[in-house]
Symmetry: C2
């Protein structure tokens, strides 16, 4: 398989957005994606960029992507967060996800970060097993709290 | 109570580090804090800074802090992450945490972010209730996966 993993370019962002939307549809939240092609180009190629993105290319077609950014631990310092790792449905189970994951860890290592972190749905047993077999520790002791735009606006109005 | 919440300055970082270490000791991981005063000054006041920090000041003493940074959602765009919100033990339950939280949400709102997000320990019922009463949605469906420096190095060696 002549799979190439490389850093994404501006004109890959339309394919990247399609992958993001495919995943959102799979998760039954197709309308949750407010992000546009222009946002991805602006945010991913600004100085400094707000994220780094890699694409998996097979026969000149983008079939997967990983996207991440720096975070900051008050115990360890600069860390790397893997926000998304997506492989298009028809190309699953042939090693593309594994190749994207390896590439992302290698990139993080080359940046000298102290930790790589990501979130995984707790029912996704096969993903959790894959991550653990690669040395990750998966913890269920944290909950994720979120305030969306509406909640933020309500909070501001009522305080 | 003459409490002031303000943006942290470089020379507040020794007090901020003491708060970080106090929390780590409370969580019985005193040796987990590898971060130094110099790291905090370098990382928090670089261009661009890697985090933003606010301090709570009472009678000229720093008694609490919040620290956060931007993240990036492939559905929403730029978001804000609250990494730490710490109040020194002797000054708990007098509204300092609430004031730091409000300040952080107001700051995030002024930055125009689409979401504010943070992690909370799943047994910390009082914190979860506080966040929910302020409009946050707290979800237990995600696990956190982490590879520390040793796991990253092992992964690189074995691939």
């Amino acid at each position: 398989m002549n799979l190439v993993i490389r850093k994404a370019k501006k004109n890959d962002m339309s394919s990247v957005l399609l992958l993001i939307k495919e995943l959102a549809e799979f998760e039954r939240e197709p309308h949750a994606v407010e992000l546009t092609y222009d946002d991805l180009v602006k945010d991913g190629f600004s100085t400094p960029p707000l994220f780094i993105c890699f694409v998996a290319v097979l026969k000149d077609e983008i079939i997967g992507m990983s996207l991440g950014y720096n975070r900051y631990s008050t115990w360890k310092g600069v860390t790397m967060h893997l926000e998304d790792l997506i492989v298009t449905r028809k190309c699953r189970s042939i090693g593309v996800g594994s190749a994207l994951f390896s590439n992302f860890i290698r990139h993080s290592h080359s940046m000298g970060v102290k930790r790589v972190e990501w979130a995984v749905l707790n029912w996704n047993v096969s993903a959790i097993k894959f991550y653990e077999s690669n040395g990750a520790v998966v913890s269920d002791e944290w909950n994720i709290a979120q305030m969306n735009e509406k909640a933020i606006n309500n909070f501001i109005l009522n305080k």
